[in-house]
């Protein structure tokens, strides 16, 4: 999508702490981050997932999304698939309540 003003393979790593749910198009955001990262560069991400805790889901649906704090609410598998599609690999996923901590790396090879 060419929105991040950085060259391909120019950054050493990426942090995304509790913010991916605020992206309007998280899939394209993940692809753009993957483009700018070097091969094997780590991506450290924490994000609130839906489908883990009923109370968290209630807060997301009734407060976070209507108030504009969240734009989307995805589950664990949806986030993982999104990162796989964006050319990430080597996933290490840990759940802390409804928060998902993901540590993965850019494969550097185009996904099939």
């Amino acid at each position: 999508m060419g929105n991040l003003p950085f060259k391909d393979n120019s950054l050493n790593g990426c942090l995304s702490l509790n913010g991916f749910h605020a992206f309007l198009k998280p899939e394209e955001g993940a692809r753009e981050i993957s483009r700018t990262l070097m091969k094997d560069a780590p991506m450290l991400m924490t994000v609130a997932c839906s489908g883990e805790r009923k109370f968290s889901d209630f807060i997301i649906d009734k407060i976070m999304i209507p108030r504009g704090f969240f734009t989307s609410s995805l589950g664990i598998n949806a986030y993982k698939q999104m990162l796989i599609n964006a050319d990430f690999q080597g996933f290490n996923i840990q759940m802390l309540g409804a928060l998902m901590f993901v540590n993965c790396r850019v494969s550097g090879e185009p996904s099939p």
Partner: protein, 221 residues
Amino acid sequence: MLVETTVKQGSFYNALYQMIPDNHILKQINSAIDLSFVNELLADRYCKNFGRPAKEPEMMLRCQGDGSLDTPNSPDLAPINPLSDNVPLHLPIIISSAMPVLITPANFNQARQIWNPESRWRVFRRSNTARCNLRPSAVTDAFVNNRLFLKLVWGVGQKQIPYLSESIKSRLPDGTVLDIPCGTALFGIQAYTEKPNNIFIAFDYSIGMLRMAKNPKRHFR
């Protein structure tokens, strides 16, 4: 004193100008209309030899024109509206030594080594504050930092928070690291202090949050 302004090749402003698309309406107006006659008309209003160098009247006239074009209904604003974009972008800030700094002409060359000149340069405009209103930075900070809130809403226990921050810090690479979106840097600040020699480039939708991220006192109070 009236001095003719020249934009030097390779300067910060020239680099910014090159990032504007050729079909941008202001660039088209610039190439089509010559307003230099305004300088000649008003030349006798300025002292010839003394005084601080003044901005050219031509430039002031152009600024007035820009202001009239920069309205919410202008179709030219549509491409830079962050609500229609897929990655949150505002003014990028480079953070080094745990001290967020806006990109300025002084550190621009440092950023330029990784900069992609073909991408569109986005400039913060007032219309973007719509997003700030949706995510008030002070409210976010007060709630997100609250351990009771973390436990109740997200189910994150008190012992898990230091574990999470240690996990992030231990896996953080050296070099240039992107933090997107950074918010108020509430979570990222520990990473910034862990790697003081790194360059952290942080983006966010909200200019209010970026301003809070720039304030180091907030993090260490």
